[in-house]
């Protein structure tokens, strides 16, 4: 195994395989100044979610639960098809349903978007993370959480322009979609892409996925969607999870997908500006982590830490934070 898989369709080989993603493949590591340069460059991968082909069946959610062996709770119906009602530490991906009446045609459109980690080329979570090695980025573009290094501070949630990570109430660590890094490492595509019956979710190299999207966009334009386009937002350096949207001129109609996501400039310069504070904080966190291990108590950050983190996010993103408005996507 030498490079990134190019599809999620193939079945696994029967012989044992060596993991293709190791420490030598990291290009970024949270709160780590002296990360050695990667020994090779893997071909960047991407998952492409074609919203116009998605039928909202939730096979992706189901596959995600099965592969990651999570246990989302049996909740209740609150008047929407979106279940569970939000991403959780047990639900890394979520179909968000939005009923939108197109003002130019007066026709209803039922917009169904698979929400989850976008695997930003420039990951706000990783930059905000004070715990060394809790968040890493591989040369193929996957942003992964290394749970044993996580201190549960929640900065990754604040740093994420898409409001994706969730902190487990059970083990106080952050969880999100891994882009099935464990599958990709052995030549397989993500479980959600494999399960998708209509191939609305496809997986391969970012180059291939971009080209595939062009064909889909041409088809949508021929069907009257003049603003169909690829969502690969430059504000976060592009993403390794991309959408084909019928209305790419207004991403926010898809359950508050940010029109122009950016990471906070403060987070961007975190290392530079607050290097020493950051290091000191890391020491504090490490101690906290140890205490956590002994007393099995939640990790806490101080109120000031919390406030400064919140401020940091508020000052940066020139639009509502997604979590404030996305809880009831169905009614959109």
């Amino acid at each position: 195994m030498s490079d990134s898989p190019r599809t999620a369709v193939s079945n696994p080989p029967t012989q044992p395989m060596v993991s293709n993603l190791g420490p030598a493949d990291l290009i970024r590591r949270s709160a780590t100044e002296d990360l050695p340069p990667p020994q090779r460059q893997l071909t960047p991968v991407a998952k492409l979610i074609d919203v116009s082909k998605c039928i909202g069946c939730k096979a992706c959610q189901s596959a995600c639960v099965e592969w990651n062996d999570t246990t989302p709770a049996v909740g209740e119906n609150v008047g929407v098809y979106t279940n569970p009602h939000d991403l959780t530490e047990n639900m890394f991906t979520l179909m968000r349903f939005t009923e939108w009446v197109n003002p130019s045609t007066d026709n209803l459109e039922w917009l169904i978007r698979k929400d989850g980690c976008m695997h930003c080329a420039d990951p706000g979570c990783l930059k905000a993370c004070p715990a060394p090695g809790a968040i890493v980025q591989y040369t193929n573009g996957i942003v992964d959480f290394i749970h044993e290094n996580c201190i549960g501070c929640g900065y990754c949630v604040k740093g994420c322009p898409f409001n994706i990570p969730r902190i487990s109430k059970a083990d106080h660590r952050a969880y999100k979609c891994t882009l099935c890094s464990d599958r990709v490492a052995v030549g397989q595509g993500p479980a959600c892409a494999k399960a998708c019956p209509t191939q609305a979710i496809v997986f391969g190299t970012k180059e291939d996925m971009t080209r595939h999207a062009e064909g889909r966009i041409a088809d949508l334009k021929s069907r009257g969607y003049a603003n169909a386009g690829l969502y690969d937002p430059p504000g976060v350096g592009g993403t390794h999870v991309m959408y084909v949207l019928h209305h790419n001129d207004k991403p926010h109609i898809y359950a508050d997908l940010p029109d122009n996501p950016r990471i906070s400039p403060v987070v961007q310069t975190w290392k530079g500006l607050t290097k020493y504070v950051g290091l000191a904080a890391m020491g504090f966190m490490a101690a906290g982590s140890l205490i956590h291990g002994v007393f099995a108590r939640p990790n806490r950050v101080s109120k000031e830490d919390e406030e400064s983190a919140e401020k940091l996010v508020e000052t940066t993103i020139g639009q509502p934070v997604p979590e404030a408005s996305s809880s009831n996507g169905e009614r959109g």
Binding site: I55, V74, G75, G79, R331
Partner: protein
Amino acid sequence: MTNSWTDIRNTDLVVVMGGNAAEAHPCGFKWVTEAKAHRGAKLIVVDPRYTRTASVSDFYAPIRQGTDIAFLLGVIKYCIDNDKVQWEYTKAFTNASYIVKEGFGYSDGLFTGYDEEKRDYNRTTWDYEIGEDGFAVTDPTLQHPRCVWNLLKQHVAVYTPEMVERICGTPRDKFLRVAQMISECSSPTKTMTSMYALGWTQHSHGAQNIRAMAMLQLILGNIGVRGGGMNALRGHSNIQGLTDIGLMSHLLTGYLNMPTEQETDFEIYMRSRQFRPLRPGQTSYWQNYRKFMVSFQKAMWGDAATAENQWGYEFLPKLDVPAYDVLRMFELMGAGRVNGYFCQGFNPMLAFPNRGKITASLSKLKFLVTMDPLETETARFWENHGEYNEVDTRSIQTEVFQLPTTCFAEEEGSLTNSGRWLQWHWAGGSPPGEAKHDTWIMAQIFLRMRELYRKEGGAFPDPILNLSWNYHDPNEPEPEELAKEINGRALTDLSDPADPSRVQVAAGKQLLNFSQLRDDGSTMCGVWIYSGCWNEAGNNMARRGTEDPDGTGAYLNWSFAWPLNRRTLYNRASADLQGRPWDPSRKLLEWDGTKWTGYDVPDIAPTARPDQVMPFIMNQEGVSRLFTRGMLRDGPFPAHMEPFESPVPNVMNPRMRGNPVARVFQSDLSQFGNADEFPFAATSYRLTEHFHYWTKHNRVNAALQPEFFVEISEELAALRQVVNGGWVRVWSKRGSVKAKAVVTKRIRPLNCDGRVVHVVGIPLHWGFVGAAKKGFGPNSLSPFVGDANIETPEYKAFLVNLEPTTAPGVQS
């Protein structure tokens, strides 16, 4: 399906009406997305709700449930009026030119011959004029006023766009857009596929819904061609297999009929099944009925089936009623006329209408046996679950035996999919706990019963004692043995009909296919249409070849499709009277001057000349039927009928309730509700997150759609002051349920004949056992009446009322 799932990718237009393929058949729906992505195909959805399928459609039109016939006859009228007919196909391959008997007519919503007392038609005028030569009289010029084409034109004349809007509530402009898009497929180089499911069958006029679309497809020339067809999306992985193998009280295997008590001997039984051709030179393949029947009887009783005892004809049960369908069984049970009930792999407590009646009926049984891999509500019908199952347990004396069975993944065998593919599968796990294969359980019951009959005799032990049971292990017949029996084998050396000195098949060998069946007792075959599935070449159902020459989607080396591995039925109709494909780019078959060649197994004798033998070989006419003679009880043409519970009167005849010939039991007459008391039009359906009542046992599915709900429009919510996510009570004449309300823009009120019709959508996945939250099913509300021809219950259209309420168990 006339075609196959993989063929759908060849279409230009997908019409999903009477179904919700993306929601209920998400895996098969991939072929629609393929057609859209790679052929530029368009997708139309016509449905009371804006469904998941509608969410990826090119055009959506709303329709009031139960009015599809009016809509489709409106489209047929549009096509005729606008000369959008595939004329060459229609003239050659349908009965458009056949002359109908004098006296046939239609007025006030009824065809000639109606007897209100009997709720039945005298169908003698619903037939062709027969000439002195014994053949049907035709007028190829279509000038005769009583030719089928002119009668059809007359019949659909009333279904103008205005009338469609009045009946269906479909805005005129939306109807016209759909009609226009469909009519374009009259071109020989454009095809449309019809994908439908229970949205058409679960009506008291279900068979006629399907007829209406089939007629439209015929005049557009879309039957037998790639990317065309009438494609029934079967709701279980093996429900096609269920009907094929005859698990209905009025059927034997392969669509042979169960004899009736009037058919006192085999020759009388055969007399009405001679199926002589109605036109010169036609195939009328059912002429071979006797071969299929005798071979079936030999499969059942082996050496005990002899010419002398009419191949064991007396061993066959004889029907004293048209059918012992599920509605009749529970009616009889309720009347105390059924002692025991075997419930194998289904859940009547949630699956059959009017749950109150089902519970009362089960309570009158002496014993109930359930065979199921899962806990079912039926097995627990006697258990009090508060509001969810309010029964007085002590008053129920039924003894219940629960026999745990294996699920599909724990057993080997074949499943027949919608496209008639018999796909062999292998066990992926061992049976858990005390679970046993169904075959083991049934063998044990049979062996013990046979022993009792042997010892004690009884009124008529012969059918049981003589039943053929030659299995390696009588305690558990193996799937391979059963499959081979289904295929059939030679019992003696079969001589070659072309050269009697040659042996065609040696005694004991598997038959190649049903063409080798004989009516002299020298062959046996369990299911004639499946013959060929396991012949001397081996298990053809286990084939997994993925080659597909020229990308036609036929995949002839993948599994085995009945009949004869044919992938598209009536495929000879894909070519014209000279045998040239209508659309060369979509060739299926071609006449090379001496024989048929092409990508599929020809649905005609390989050397049958294209100008002489017509494509619809199962019909006595050789052509398809726009006018279906007396073969359906409720009319030779479809005609608009309202559901038994309708929010508006039938505009054709306000006195007429429902289908005028559908069977209604006396005890159910008073159980129909009216629009003044129950003003809202309800319908029921599945959701993608669940499969029927099974997956509520699975924590993942349960998390993805945890709780019973009903869907209503914002307008109805405002009218009844219902809040989104709040509790509502929904009740009909027969029962009451509580549900969460999903208030949605996807359902909008319809305007029908000046009245506002509110639609209430009721999904069906919840009950009182399982991992999901407790809930109800729509069958607590739906009426105990079925289709006039096949008794499929009317689940898709009934009346309810609705009000806000509090959670179950909480006093308001």
